[in-house]
Symmetry: C2
Subunit: 315 residues, 2 copies
Amino acid sequence: MSPAPPDEAPDPARIAWIAADWGTSNLRAWAMDAHGLPLAEAGSGAGMGGLARDGFEPALVALVAPWLAADRRTDVLACGMVGARQGWIEAPYATVPCAPTGPAVEAPATDPRLRVRILPGLRQDGAWDVMRGEETQIAGLIADDPGFDGVACLPGTHTKWAHVSAGEVVSFASFMTGELFALVSTASVLRHSVATEGWSAPDFAEAVEETLARPERLAGRLFGIRAEGLLAGLAPERARARLSGLLIGAELAAARPYWLGRDVVLVGAPALARAYREALALAGVAAREADAAAMTRAGLAAAWTRLANTERRPA
Amino acid sequence: MSPAPPDEAPDPARIAWIAADWGTSNLRAWAMDAHGLPLAEAGSGAGMGGLARDGFEPALVALVAPWLAADRRTDVLACGMVGARQGWIEAPYATVPCAPTGPAVEAPATDPRLRVRILPGLRQDGAWDVMRGEETQIAGLIADDPGFDGVACLPGTHTKWAHVSAGEVVSFASFMTGELFALVSTASVLRHSVATEGWSAPDFAEAVEETLARPERLAGRLFGIRAEGLLAGLAPERARARLSGLLIGAELAAARPYWLGRDVVLVGAPALARAYREALALAGVAAREADAAAMTRAGLAAAWTRLANTERRPA
């Protein structure tokens, strides 16, 4: 499954379509063969957050031009914030409960070598929530295991927990844990006490157990990290692990209805997924891990196959 | 008690000493008479955070020069972050349980018209915590009511709860609620959904009650503010009140051992003290309010009287 290095551009004749994961900060694309396998991978920092409406097409062409055939349109199927209101074109949210990936929206492109479609995100009414991008990873999980009945936890800036059953997302909940960790560790008074690298497994575990059992302690224990650094020389690496543990423990306390007694699959960056796995183990849950990029590709591949079949073109 | 406008500089002969509240962001000073009453007030943005070691004396002189007599030293007694390790000179913390204001440390000054002393902050070992500045407001509470036995709540960037009994601070706890509110409302994804002004009392109350009863919900309800803004047009003023209520409710859940069944006095900026008073009322606590600047002056005056008596000078 590992893609070829980007300098070995595959023959465009072998490329059936292009998969794109286009988030707020990054654009990542894969040249896909007709069987849903990646032939090449490319990435850039041209995230949605830094692009004006007319900047999307040039950013995409700059990345994938070596993969485009001159004499036909190549399909591009994208997911993520590129489909937000501030993105290339809005792909309106589908409302849960529903299948994770809904009808794609075609983006306006002028280059005759491209046809770009964007998958919508999901919304939840009442217990208001939204996601864009993670739904495609959930689609990948279902494509890999169509009978999956359990919970997907997708750790990140805004961690998502989703209850998946019978091929649908039943409900989901978002937690700002990653963003809070970044803000508190780099922009609050704790920036003086918390390292940007390093780890302490015992401090992480102790902190998870504390806020999992007593989530109200989060509010008071944060400043304690600063005070212990000042007064007792708490090592900045230990402070970092403790801050992460306090936040993840409090998240687990809130997400208990999702993980309690369920089959949990973690989909996220390896270091973060590992932290969640260890925290869940302390709560008695043996979570599995799935590769985030592979799930994104699998979800896009499943959606592309559906699109291609609908259009009576060879999948 | 209201000081004269700063343009009516009092006769330096009437000025017995100068009180200074010198925090991270601001410097505020009062010309005090021999009875501990303010004759004039002045303030500047020359906070500790923006000053190098040799910048403190010029910043102070620039503010209080009109109050200084040419032919004698005028005492200045200061509290706050000016006594931190990064301040003018370190005034080492006193360790609780102890009286709120400990021995003052003289700062190195070259101007012959000044003698500057700085009050130390408080530290707590074990349940590690620190304060600088708030201890002087607590001293003011005790000076006003020597028999006070209860809890001082000092809302701010880092809200402090202190158990006060028999003239001493028995224990205290800090919460980063104010700093979290500022970071989340201006630097996180919620900045798109939360107003910088405006309020909704019902949303505040509902949010306080939610996290006071279920503090674990804080983690999940934050992103919900963003989602409800996107999907259901939640008004940014309502979002602001809700964010504040979620954070203060979670703080009250954690600070329960401080306020439950106690006499609570709030010392802080009026709008913030009012929010805490309303939140405490929802928890069944009728908190009183005390003026923060008056408490600072009263605490400094009590410490200055003690200093003057020790030195056998007229108080």
